[in-house]
Symmetry: C2
Subunit: 144 residues, 2 copies
């Protein structure tokens, strides 16, 4: 879909994603090697009673599901940034996350052939607890 | 280091990180499978003339270097969120990134034993071009 094809308020529902303990460890060892993510013994005595997923892992796992929907695909010129992101509740091993994407803003470009889309993403776990909320912006081709 | 040990304005310099084409492809196939990140043929005709790293990859690669510094380690209670993030220039294969972290805010908690730290991270490439700027907040134990 091109910039022109989107409407503010339009929503998309992402395929659920379950994050295993092995995946939590693999991601965190590479990108976020804090004891709360990689050391089960340490984490047992933490606030959460066991290891939790890196927030960056949650973000990447949900982003993957968004790209797999191909809402935009070859039309993406580039990512611009993240307007805000909150991690509201921890992600424990085997939690299942469901994301909902809403087009919250369209910013026309003074350059022809492109525009900026803002996507707000809200993620909840299997108990319907809010896990993560964020908004990203990307530059997307338009039809003309 | 505990919450109490930090001063607003304090800076830390991250170990440089070079991102190879193989790493760009591996990360993007898993978490950001857009043609500009995974399809060299498609990317050749894009604005950037070849594949570029996912912005989420750049973020995770820099975050890994920040955690490896162990500025905070066992003291982290949890990540709270990202206040803002901008991707200013693309990351091409074999670019070398250098990150600088500054403590920009300390927010005392009404609960004893903890406080919130804000870290602003500025990332430049080997040509000193700005690549990424972001600020994250995390909840960190205090000494008392």
């Amino acid at each position: 879909m091109y910039y022109d094809d989107f409407t503010v308020g339009q929503k998309f529902f992402l395929e659920p994603v379950t994050i295993s303990e092995a995946e939590i460890l693999e991601f965190a060892k590479k990108y976020d090697p804090l004891p709360i993510h990689i050391d089960p013994e340490f984490a047992k005595n933490s606030l959460f009673g066991g290891i939790i997923a890196s927030g960056f892992h949650t973000l990447c796992a949900i982003h993957a599901k968004m790209i797999k929907l191909r809402i935009v695909y070859e039309e993406v010129i580039g990512g611009l940034g993240i307007d805000y992101l909150q991690w509201s509740n921890p992600v424990h091993p085997n939690d299942t996350l469901r994301g909902e994407v809403e087009i919250t803003e369209k910013i026309p470009s003074s350059k022809g052939g492109q525009g900026i889309l803002a996507y707000r993403v809200v993620v909840r776990n299997q108990d319907d607890q809010l896990v993560m909320t964020y908004q990203v912006k990307s530059l997307v081709k338009s039809r003309n």
